[in-house]
């Protein structure tokens, strides 16, 4: 088992932790630290709220139907020339 993290180490790993970019071993050390440290847990919520704001603001846009239809028409317009 990896040694325990101090707060500084845990904070520096928080964003990668939330983006699920850590190895399972390191992820476990962060999980363990957060479970026992209210300050870092709250900082984790801070980062989570930040990521959710990005997702909410720009992550739900959909390609307009008119563009989708133009593309479909292009695909079915016959065999490609190139």
């Amino acid at each position: 088992m990896k040694p325990d993290l101090d707060c500084r180490e845990a904070l520096d790993l928080l964003q990668d932790f939330l983006r699920q970019e850590l190895t399972p071993e390191v992820e476990a050390t962060v999980t363990r630290h957060l479970a026992g440290c209210r300050h870092c847990f709250r900082h984790g919520e801070f980062e989570r709220n930040f990521f959710e704001a990005l997702e909410r603001a720009v992550g739900r846009d959909r390609c307009p139907d008119t563009v989708r239809e133009r593309i479909l028409a292009g695909l079915r317009g016959g065999p490609p020339s190139a």
Binding site: L11, D12, Q15, D16, R19, E21, H39, R42, H43, E45, F46, E47, R48, N49, F50, F51, E52, A53, L54, E55, R56, A57, V58, G59, D61, R62, C63, P64, T66, V67, R68, R70, I71, L72, G74, L75, R76, G78, P79, P80, S81, A82
Partner: protein, 189 residues
């Protein structure tokens, strides 16, 4: 030989599900609705013409994004805007959280900043930062996949992401203070 009908069908099955993602990335790269629409259409039709070179069952998302990015660089990117003088070299990595540690330690203010402000903050980032932020934090691509696509070291992706996030957090915090969503640490003189 694959019939044209089968070819179209396999493209629609494997490539088309990525259309919304491509559109979102195009939207942030171009910063413009019409240009984003044209870019995504050009990308899809280019991809369709090259579809025989794509190995079915491999990473269609990465392949399509690469075509989108190359098309953007070659045909859509305007003369580089004057570099924005954003402060991407702030010394303290956790500055914003420290600023709100007493009043809003869990960053509730992020939930109350209006979407338009978030969009404007993202679009205000320099392109190389905006690109990795959208690919990672909006579209959920793994860092390694982004590094491979951009042909830059993994450490470069991580450092751009880190700076982009820090810049956005600082801007969103400023908006939140202006909008009265969060109490500033120091009283405004």
């Amino acid at each position: 030989m694959v019939s044209p009908e089968e070819r179209t069908a396999s493209f629609e099955r494997e490539a088309l599900p990525h259309l919304d993602m491509l559109y979102r990335v195009a939207r942030r790269l171009t910063g413009d609705l019409t240009r984003a629409e044209d870019l995504v259409q050009d990308t899809m039709l280019k991809a369709f013409r090259a579809w025989d070179r794509f190995e079915s069952g491999t990473n269609a998302r990465g392949w399509l994004l690469t075509i989108l990015r190359n098309t953007f660089i070659n045909d859509y990117r305007r003369a580089r805007r004057t570099p924005v003088t954003v402060d991407l070299e702030l010394a303290e990595p956790h500055r914003i959280h420290q600023t709100v540690a007493e009043s809003d330690p869990e960053g509730e203010f992020f939930r109350r900043v209006v979407d338009e402000r978030v969009v404007a903050a993202i679009d205000g980032l320099p392109e190389e930062f905006r690109e990795v932020l959208v690919l990672s934090d909006v579209e959920g691509l793994p860092y390694a996949e982004i590094a491979a696509m951009l042909e830059v070291p993994l450490g470069t992706v991580k450092s751009r992401l880190f700076r982009a996030r820090r810049q956005l957090q600082a801007e969103l915090y400023e908006h939140a203070v202006e909008a009265g969503i969060v109490r500033p640490k120091e009283p405004i003189p």
